[in-house]
């Protein structure tokens, strides 16, 4: 039986490292602020969100036809198109392309899809050296950790952590924590790999059905270096990345980096359509659960996601627990609604890693109703009897209380007294998740109902 990810337990280590937690929270909230300023500067922002949502919904509801159109266009460009049902087939397809050409080294740009497929772990034992070339992703590769954020993979690390990783793996000065020195060390050590690698790889932010183009948005220039130097280029593309036409890129590219980092566009927005003479370009179209999700009435629209990370940056639970505590490739609010579709039991705790404050939905550039879907996953988890024991007992009790106004009032009044007089062990024990890592606030002297009754008595003297 699959192990269940206990998000609360997994986050406890992160929460205990208070300087990390404090920085993580502040850095991501800063990105949210930058996003707000960037979007406020675009008068048609809300219209763009609606258009982006409609274009994605249209494409997803005609996905088969658009994938076929993409395939025809790509083939006409001289690109070889492959298909993969799942992660295992994706990894095998990539390996076969590399092995058939004797390729031993692969430089790659960031791709959440290849992380989802755990591709490196498949290729490396088979003699393929894989070099992640995005700085954050490289830090995570060298530290043997998955990325903790889909846009900024090493955001949970401080400069001292990076200095330690680089000293251990790249031989840099362990006492030099200067960020410029660390970034320059990665540039210096990665650059020779671009010059000699047998193959290059990118993911895709968008794939255009009309033209067969693969669109990759980066800031570091590493995707272009990965594509333009080796003689073999492989793009790994989730089937939901298709958009119909070039003109639609205007909508999505205007939104992606503004939502992610608050910049109007990424430094490099690259469109790979035709392989350069004397080289090969391959596209692997990957399903891996996406066609199943398309058939789920309540959850198919999560496939609209363009992986900007805005929902993660705004989420109080994500900011204070860190991406690694979700135990999945996709973390934060978007992960909470994607992951259970892959494995309901393993990820059954994730829909509860949310306050349902709706902030994720409010910032989503493609208008995914993220917090509604989080709530709906909770129902699915409960119906499939996948709730952990303590939560099930608590919910049973809550159900009884909430069904009876008299019991509810008595409980609320007693709770106020309870926080004041109960011994700490009753509140801060293993069964009460609300007592972990936080102090339960003092209850006000009056309950809302008591206050309301008193006010009404004042205003409407009988």
């Amino acid at each position: 039986m699959t192990e269940r990810i206990d998000h609360a337990e997994a986050s406890s280590g992160f929460i205990a490292a208070s300087d990390h937690l404090e920085f993580h929270d502040r850095r991501l909230w800063d990105l949210r602020g930058k996003r707000d300023r960037a979007t406020a500067a675009i008068p048609e922002w809300e219209e763009l969100r609606t258009l982006a949502s409609q274009i994605k919904e249209h494409t997803l509801t005609h996905l088969g036809a658009y994938l076929e159109q993409f395939e025809r266009a790509a083939q006409a460009n001289g690109v070889t198109v492959h298909w993969a049902r799942d992660a295992a087939e994706h990894n095998q397809v990539v390996y076969d392309i590399l092995a058939a050409r004797g390729a031993k080294t692969l430089v790659k740009a960031k791709s959440m899809l290849t992380d989802e497929c755990e591709m490196r772990a498949f290729l490396e034992p088979r003699g393929i050296e894989v070099i992640e070339t995005d700085l954050g992703e490289r830090i995570q590769q060298l530290d043997d950790e998955p990325p903790s954020h889909i846009v900024v993979p090493a955001v949970h690390k401080l400069r001292a952590d990076v200095a330690e990783v680089f000293a251990r793996t790249l031989g840099t000065d362990p006492n030099n924590h200067d960020v410029h020195y660390l970034a320059e060390s990665q540039r210096r050590t990665t650059r020779p790999s671009f010059l000699t690698a047998d193959a290059g790889m990118t993911g895709a932010n968008f794939a255009v059905a009309e033209t067969g183009a693969i669109v990759v948005c980066t800031n570091e220039g590493n995707a272009d270096l990965s594509v333009h130097l080796p003689k073999l280029y492989i793009a790994c593309v989730g089937i939901e990345k298709i958009i119909p036409r070039t003109e639609h890129l205007g909508v999505f590219v205007r939104m992606l980096s503004r939502s992610a980092l608050g910049s109007p566009i990424t430094q490099m927005t690259s469109h790979f359509r035709v392989p350069r003479p004397g080289t090969e370009m391959h596209v692997v179209l990957v399903d891996n659960g996406r066609s199943d999700r398309l058939g789920m009435d309540d959850f198919w629209s999560s496939l609209k996601c363009i992986r900007c990370g805005a929902c993660m940056n705004t989420c109080p639970v994500y900011r204070r627990s860190g991406g690694l505590s979700y135990g999945a490739t996709y973390s934060g609010p978007i992960g909470v609604i994607i992951d259970p579709a892959y494995n309901l039991r393993k990820y059954s705790a994730l829909p509860f890693a949310s306050t349902l404050n709706g902030s994720c939905t409010a910032v989503c550039p493609v208008r995914i109703n993220i917090h509604d879907q989080i709530y709906k996953w909770r129902r699915v988890v409960a119906e499939r009897n996948a709730l952990p024991f303590a939560k099930k007992q608590a919910m049973k009790m809550a159900g009884k209380l909430l069904a009876s106004p008299r019991l509810f009032r008595a409980a609320v009044e007693a709770a106020g007294a309870g926080v004041e007089y109960l011994p700490r062990v009753m509140l801060y024990n293993r069964l009460n998740a609300w007592g972990k890592q936080r102090e339960v606030p003092q209850a006000p002297p009056q309950t809302f109902r008591q206050w309301w009754l008193a006010q009404r008595a004042k205003k409407e003297p009988r």
Partner: protein, 200 residues
């Protein structure tokens, strides 16, 4: 059944109800076009870490580039205006450009909204020039500015390209503690040199 046919069949099994494709509005092109000026473009590019040089004195582009990088050993140009030290026609493998200090290219147009320039395989000569060079100088006719990315994607220069990039300043990263660094993996600086094309 092939994987391809199986995936397509699964997608067609329970598709959600069809949603229509919306028409894209023109996004106030009239008003924007009036504001789609070189100054807006230059300001946006500078916000993204790009530099904007004054137009070359007396129209001497090559001298202006040398003056910008007096210590550069290897200049490599894909433009008619600058000859450089490394003829691109002689390059057999892109890795040969690894020692280029300054690359010089001409962009078809700039985007006022974002400060981006469009570069295609034809503009770069060898694609890797735009990434392996330590520094890049981009020549741009200051009258060739489109207002928004929507306009950029409608341009014929984009449609005909085998490869196209909207490049917006130098390569950059903020992956360690959000500290902004220009010169991540690609070019360390991008300098825009406003000048009309010599070809007219």
């Amino acid at each position: 059944m092939s994987t391809r046919d199986e995936v397509l069949a699964r997608l067609r099994r329970h598709p959600p109800a069809a949603v229509a494709l919306p028409e894209l509005p023109a996004f106030a092109r009239g008003e924007r076009a009036a504001r789609g000026s070189f100054d807006d473009f230059a300001a946006a590019l500078q916000r993204m870490g790009g530099k904007v040089a004054p137009p070359p004195a007396g129209g001497d582009v090559a001298a202006a580039v040398r003056a910008l990088f007096p210590d550069a050993r290897v200049l490599c140009s894909a433009t008619a205006e600058v000859t450089g030290d490394r003829p691109l026609a002689a390059v057999r493998a892109p890795a040969e450009l690894a020692d280029v200090d300054v690359g010089i290219v001409r962009a078809a147009f700039g985007v006022a909204e974002t400060g981006s320039v469009l570069l295609t395989e034809a503009d770069l000569g060898v694609e890797a020039l735009g990434f392996l060079a330590q520094h890049l100088v981009v020549l741009l006719d200051p009258s060739c500015i489109v207002p928004t990315l929507h306009d950029g994607y409608r341009d014929a220069a984009f449609a005909n390209a085998r490869y196209a990039i909207f490049m917006t300043g130098p390569s950059a990263t903020a992956d360690i503690e959000g500290v902004l660094i220009h010169g991540a993996q690609g070019i360390r600086s991008l300098t825009l040199l406003p000048c009309a094309s010599a070809a007219g």
